[in-house]
């Protein structure tokens, strides 16, 4: 296990990376939300994570799990929309799994607790066309890769990111059953879910951060579907 200072540094680094990424993706996420929602997912996410990133200094003395918890509460108060309680509340809740420090095992427990809370809070299942569609394959894949296949954490995480990407692609052809988009009924078919997409972006940044800290370099599988990311 890395020492506490390194763990904290890694968490803060991840936070910065996520915040920067979501700032870059703000208008893309908002475009996705404008098709089946109220065109605010990009600004919601950008605002919430920027506020958290601005608190870096307040976090500098905390235990790593406390930092994660405080990121959650900051998101709760600042993201707004459905994604605020989902991201913020679930991060806050799952942070307790990290109380003993951030290890491969505790990261699996964190991921599971996070998924459980999102499902519990929002009532969405796989196929509801929400962030759950990205999370379920990602968390299942991560857990199986670590616990059954004994893959190193970085490889497991890379596989999880690919799984999330397949989940994002899966949201496009289905009808929304939860959240604002569900009001559109059949008209939601054919549009990619913003929350699943932001989940993927965050996971990509976690992977990038892990690559730095675990000193590895993984090759991700061929992407499931190029449609899930904006034209670059």
């Amino acid at each position: 296990m890395a020492d506490v200072d390194t763990q904290r540094e890694a968490v803060l680094e991840a936070l910065d990376n996520v915040s920067t990424r979501l700032t870059d993706e703000k208008s893309y996420l908002t475009d996705l939300d404008s098709a089946i929602g109220d065109a605010d997912h990009g600004s919601n996410m950008q605002r919430g994570f920027s506020k958290a990133a601005e608190k870096r200094d307040d976090f500098s003395e905390m235990e790593p799990h406390e930092v994660v918890k405080n990121i959650g509460t900051t998101l709760i108060s600042n993201v707004g929309g459905a994604s605020g309680p989902l991201y913020g509340g679930s991060i806050m809740f799952a942070s307790q799994e990290l109380e003993g420090g951030i290890t491969t095992e505790s990261s699996v427990a964190f991921a599971e607790a996070y998924l459980d809370k999102v499902k519990d809070r929002g009532g969405a299942q796989v196929g509801s066309k929400t962030m759950v569609d990205a999370l379920v394959p990602a968390v299942h894949t991560y857990k199986k890769s670590v616990e059954q296949d004994d893959l190193p954490p970085l490889e497991a995480l890379a596989k999880a990111v690919d799984a999330a990407e397949r989940g994002v692609a899966f949201t496009t052809p289905i009808k929304a059953l939860k959240g604002r988009a569900s009001f559109l009924d059949w008209r939601s078919v054919g549009h990619q879910d913003p929350g699943a997409t932001s989940t993927l972006f965050i996971m990509e940044e976690l992977l990038a951060t892990a690559e730095e800290y675990l000193d590895g370099d993984v090759v991700r599988d061929a992407r499931a579907d190029n449609a899930v990311r904006r034209d670059e």
Binding site: D38, I76, S77, G80, G81, A82, G84, P85, L86, G88, G89, R121, G122, K178, G179, R180
Partner: protein, 128 residues
């Protein structure tokens, strides 16, 4: 007396609903609007939490909500306000608040009876 909190995505909708319901309760009901968020349309767990604390006189609070994130933020707010005994009614927000306001002014009101009365508003028909 059981308090009520009205959580709509619009601050003015929450205020207006509270205003109409206040009349139904003969001016005696405790009804706190907690709508909107810092940027306008939305809901805020911090505002809802403050609403819960304002509405509670010790007898507990029933919360009426509009859509999805209002429910989730109310759940979070209820978890945060651990000292307030609160429940969410699964009812249409305006009609449920009116029913609930009347029920809170009954001597026999309980959190459950207020929730039940609010949820009866689903059956309310407006046209003859």
């Amino acid at each position: 007396m059981i308090g009520l909190v009205v959580v709509s995505h619009s601050a003015s909708a929450a205020e207006g609903i509270a205003e109409v319901a206040a009349q139904m309760g003969g001016g005696n009901a405790r009804i706190v609007p907690a709508g909107g968020d810092e940027d306008g349309i939305g809901t805020s767990p911090d505002r809802i939490r403050a609403g819960l604390e304002e509405a509670d006189d010790g007898d507990g609070v029933v919360v009426l909500v509009d859509l999805g994130s209002a429910v989730m933020n109310t759940e979070l707010a209820i978890e945060m306000a651990a000292d307030v005994n609160a429940a969410i009614a699964d009812a249409p927000i305006l009609e449920g608040t009116l029913n609930a306001a009347v029920e809170t002014t009954s001597k026999k009101a309980t959190i459950q009876s207020v929730v039940d009365r609010a949820e009866e508003a689903r059956e309310y028909r407006k046209l003859n």
